[in-house]
């Protein structure tokens, strides 16, 4: 890991930053070609500038987050445009270069940008109006800005923003620009079409993998199948004999080889002919069960206890009865639709990197590290990302690409095969949790104790963020941070780092892992108490009005109190994560214990002030389906340190004919600050489904994936 001074994840989660600069930029700049994020190599760049207006009236917004499907470009543009007074159609967009870019992850984008982006727009509008007012010699209050034009209402005179840009740039920016009242919004809260729709439909959107730099060659890579292995031998001649192959490269740590060719297929054939042999090490003894055994072992013994409330052990001991359950979750791959790729051109005097990344700063840092060039000499060109899900919060593939590109004079694009992408991923860790509740005579919780055994992802990813005690606060989501109120509560964390793999963030991070356990457990308690699961949750969440509201709404919309249609079953989940509330009901059918048909999913969401409602719905739909895929099917397994799943024949992804027939999402109107939305659907999927399946089959589903035979055996034995 390279050290990096960056906006820490924690700060990003809880709203850090806040410095605002809206710079008007009078110099001409290249207009965005359709779909291609504009390059600005020549123009001087002011960091944290969001808006650039040129005299020819081209309006460019430079966006601090990366578009990977979540619709952030559209909502960011809406936030600026709302205050600036421009139409969406007038706008070009660019990705911010490193230094100003945020980390795009943890569903934080809208949370962090909600205020700064609007203020940027408002500040720019203020100086534009001022410039116009002083030209006309009228009071700024008599002027309005809309559709990229400042108008003097009484006289009907107008200037375009472009005509005012040069003058406006000389005016001081207001420190605290006045923001519109929510009632005056013309864009925010009203569904807008995505700004990136057309280019993604007609195939012109440029993803990292589509980069075509003049003179580039294409390489494909094989890394040691066992973590930590290095290359011992390879058949260089055989690879070079493949028509089109131009080079065989070994990187500096010798843990990966790359065959470079004129096109991917030649490189692929070259790599097959290369037949690298790797050194073995202790990791070659790691099997899936090794990891699970280690996790189960952590259920006993010492643990870190972050902010306990009351004496859980004592209360549980004195309770009317106790209930306890153990849950297990597997490692997961990201398997983004766009396989891992990166393009780099290393020259003695500089280096360009074209890549889809959620962490542009780290991309720059690592390229500097590998090349030995100063950071300023590294230009990172951010591209559209064909699915992030946390994978592109990692940058090891950028490191690897630059290691190879350092050895070539030409720009080198590396494209991983899907097999490489899945078997050399950095995985969502496996976890084992045990939850114990003390119950009163009616079955209500008197105290709860929750032990999590698993890795602390943040310890590798952003070490300073690990608490002094060694706690990863990500694990608090859906456990300590919840819509429920417990009188007595204790969270315990026994850290166990998985051997033989590297673990990483995955869509929904802590919320996805925590919610499966907690919402499953609460459901068990409800069933045990003979209380309706919605009513049971409502009682536990009664101090939290927003939680109760989504629960009530979902109960109504899902016809919860009506009898379930014949052959079907329902399951519910309630969550507070990423600043948003959501309640979800899944209605399913199981014709056999091995098949699940999801007929209908109903969700009620309160994610605060909604910027682009239709895109919130879209994120919930997609997030649920992503979550269902994992919940039903997915598990990364290891044999002799080697990942066994390697392409979509073995890593199963939910298809259209397995997707729910119907997903209804209801958004609750709210004036609270916006919460995140990219991950809430994913987090809801597994618990809602597991609870529905439990109701259908009459036994609990405590192991993921839900269709794993382990569920059958374990539960039958219970």
């Amino acid at each position: 890991m390279t050290r990096m001074p960056l906006t820490t994840r924690r700060a990003a989660l809880f709203g850090g930053g806040g410095l605002l600069l809206a710079t008007l930029w009078p110099s001409a700049s290249p207009r965005a070609s359709t779909g291609m994020l504009v390059e600005n190599a020549t123009a001087p760049f002011a960091p944290n500038a969001y808006i650039r207006i040129t005299p020819d009236n081209s309006i460019t917004l430079i966006l601090p987050n990366i578009e990977m499907g979540q619709g952030i470009y559209t909502s960011s543009v809406m936030l600026i445009a709302e205050e600036l007074g421009v139409d969406l159609a007038q706008i070009e967009i660019e990705a911010a270069p490193p230094g100003s870019a945020e980390i795009t992850g943890g569903s934080t984008s809208i949370m962090t940008e909600w205020k700064p982006l609007r203020e940027a727009g408002a500040a720019a509008r203020t100086v534009l109006v001022q410039a116009a007012a002083s030209r006309w010699n009228v009071a700024p209050s008599s002027c309005t800005a809309a559709s990229g034009v400042v108008s003097h209402t009484p006289s009907g005179r107008t200037f375009t923003f472009g005509e005012l840009a040069t003058e406006a740039a000389k005016l001081p920016l207001p420190k605290e620009p006045t923001l519109k009242a929510a009632s005056d919004y013309s864009l925010i809260g009203k569904s807008q079409h995505r700004v990136d729709s057309a280019i993604k439909v007609n195939g012109t959107a440029v993803f990292g993998i589509d980069i075509n730099v003049p003179g580039q060659k294409i390489g494909t890579v094989a890394a040691s199948p066992v973590m930590g292995g290095t290359v011992r031998s390879l058949d260089r001649d055989a690879a070079m004999a493949v028509r089109g192959v131009v080079a065989v490269l070994v990187n500096e740590p010798r843990d990966a080889v790359c065959v470079v060719a004129e096109h991917y297929w030649a490189a692929h054939k070259g790599l097959q002919a290369l037949r690298p042999v790797w050194s073995e090490n202790d990791n070659a003894h790691v099997n899936t069960q090794t990891i699970y055994d280690q996790l189960h072992d952590g259920l006993k013994g010492p643990a870190i206890i972050p902010s306990p409330k009351g004496d859980a052990d004592a209360v549980i001991a004195k309770s009317h009865s106790t209930y306890s359950a153990v849950y297990q979750q597997p490692m997961l791959a990201h398997a983004t639709m766009e396989p891992i790729n990166c393009t780099a051109h290393v020259r003695p005097d500089g280096c360009d990197v074209w890549v889809g990344t959620q962490v542009a700063d780290r991309a720059q840092e690592t390229a500097a590290d590998v090349t030995g060039l100063p950071k300023e000499k590294i230009t990172v060109h951010s591209q559209y990302i064909g699915g992030g899900f946390g994978r592109r919060l990692e940058h090891e593939y950028i490191t690897q690409c630059v290691q190879f590109a350092k050895q070539t004079s030409y720009p080198l694009k590396i494209v991983w095969s899907r097999e490489e992408d899945i078997t050399r991923d950095r995985y969502r860790p496996a976890y084992v949790d045990e939850v114990t509740a003390g119950l009163d005579e009616k079955g209500h919780v008197t105290a709860m104790k929750h032990r999590i055994v698993g890795p602390a992802v943040v310890a590798r990813w952003d070490p300073p963020e690990l608490t002094k005690e060694g706690y990863d606060e990500d694990l608090s989501v859906a456990t300590l941070i919840t819509s429920y109120t417990y009188d007595v509560y204790r969270l315990e964390f026994a850290r166990r780092e998985a051997p033989g793999v590297i673990t990483a963030w995955w869509r929904g991070v802590g919320g996805t892992r925590g919610l499966f356990v907690v919402e499953n457990f609460i459901d068990e308690l409800a069933v045990k108490a003979g209380i309706d699961p919605v009513a049971y949750r409502r009682e536990l969440a009664k101090d939290n009005a927003r939680a109760v509201a989504v629960l009530d709404r979902v109960a109504k919309d899902s016809d919860w109190s009506d009898p379930v249609p014949k052959g079907r079953a329902r399951g519910v989940a309630l969550q507070f994560a990423f600043g948003s509330y959501m309640a979800t009901v899944a209605e399913i059918e199981m014709q056999t214990p091995e098949t699940v048909i999801i007929h209908r999913v109903t969700a009620a969401v309160d994610c605060g002030q909604v910027v682009n409602p239709d895109q919130v719905v879209s994120q919930i739909e997609g997030g649920l389906i992503f979550g269902f895929s994992a919940a039903l099917y997915n598990e990364i397994t290891l044999e002799n340190g080697r990942v066994q799943e390697n392409n979509f024949n073995t890593w199963r992804v939910m298809r259209m004919n397995e997707a729910p027939r119907r997903i209804d999402v209801h958004l609750i109107a709210s004036t609270e600050d916006p919460g995140g939305i990219g991950e809430v659907g994913t987090a809801a999927a597994a618990p809602a489904l597991a609870n529905a399946m439990a109701s259908a089959q009459g036994h609990r589903y405590r192991t993921l994936p839900l269709l794993s035979s382990r569920n059958q055996e374990k539960e039958a034995a219970r």
Binding site: E67, N202, G203, F389
Partner: protein, 153 residues
């Protein structure tokens, strides 16, 4: 040298006959709208039309194409009512998320509507389930196909 007809133009490309069409399109002809996802015909992001029928370019050796003509997302005829209706439905409903699978989805949908102008849900599911979407845009794809079918009906 292999000869292949793409989007109405004949190209001679200096590759082995076993080279899948996908890599000829992307890396030799520079047509990057057709994507790479799996290389084993499981995901459908590489879908193009061969004589008007959707095929997976990642598993089609260029040497097997012969006289048949290839159409990619860049080359679909926007004047064709089905093509137009599909693209319009896709943007109207804001189907895309990351967008990576979408050129393949669009090609598959056009192919479906050419053979089944007014498909049922079941027909949509059986024709489109070979096209994965990791972002989970299935709900909207289904809707968009119905919408497009309605437009051209």
């Amino acid at each position: 040298m292999q000869t292949v007809r793409v989007n109405g133009q004949t190209h001679s490309v200096d590759v082995d006959p076993d080279t899948p069409l996908l890599w000829v399109l992307r890396d030799v002809l520079g047509l990057n709208g057709t994507k790479f996802g799996c290389g084993i015909a499981q995901c459908g992001v590489c879908t193009v039309h061969l004589d008007g029928h959707p095929v997976r370019a990642c598993n089609l050796p260029v040497g097997m194409i012969g006289e048949r003509s290839v159409t990619t997302i860049e080359g679909v005829d926007n004047a064709d009512p089905i093509v137009h209706a599909v693209k319009k439905a896709w943007t109207n409903l804001d189907v895309v998320q990351c967008g990576y699978c979408q050129p393949g989805q669009v090609m598959a949908a056009i192919g479906l509507l050419k053979t089944v102008p007014n498909p049922t849900d079941e027909q949509i599911d059986s024709a489109m389930s070979g096209n994965m979407c990791r972002c989970g845009t299935y709900m909207r794809i289904r809707k968009a196909i119905h919408l497009a079918a309605g437009e051209t009906a």
